[in-house]
Amino acid sequence: AQTVTQSQPEMSVQEAETVTLSCTYDTSESDYYLFWYKQPPSRQMILVIRQEAYKQQNATENRFSVNFQKAAKSFSLKISDSQLGDAAMYFCAYRSGLNFGNEKLTFGTGTRLTIIP
């Protein structure tokens, strides 16, 4: 079974600075997908960014980018120019590349990010 580990329960960053959230995973599969989800306080979870394992290029979405190291099974999220609205719980998630149409996700335990004004 796949496992996802987020070793930083809490992180804080000064507004406008850059922060990196860590995620490692364990799998024997070669085809899979990785996601970062954001859960703001009292609001719904939303997708931040996704990465296909077969793509070598790291995904980016505006101020959010990932550092995907397939050999090391590492998938960190970098948030540049942090804003107050980035304060949230961030979850790393893994999805097998098998069984298209069956999209089970395995989540990490989350990192609570605080933005310091």
Partner: protein
Amino acid sequence: DVKVTQSSRYLVKRTGEKVFLECVQDMDHENMFWYRQDPGLGLRLIYFSYDVKMKEKGDIPEGYSVSREKKERFSLILESASTNQTSMYLCASSPGTAAPSEQYFGPGTRLTVT
């Protein structure tokens, strides 16, 4: 916009009660999911459904059952609620197309069992 709604934001039930948590999505998604979220444990999959009347157990199905009679609605049932089922319950849906797509989450139901 995809909308996933859950019947209650907060629910308080007594031990032994039968509890129904309802989830509705409005985007004709094939897949629907129920997770529970606990501090320090992240989200854990309880059950999921990839078609009407189809269901599969997730990682922690014990003490729960589900029902999906219509495509847009996925219900989580606690047959006899216990205090260790006090938690935040999140419903999600996804299209189920060949290309992996994101899951869309509801606002959650915080259930307290006393």
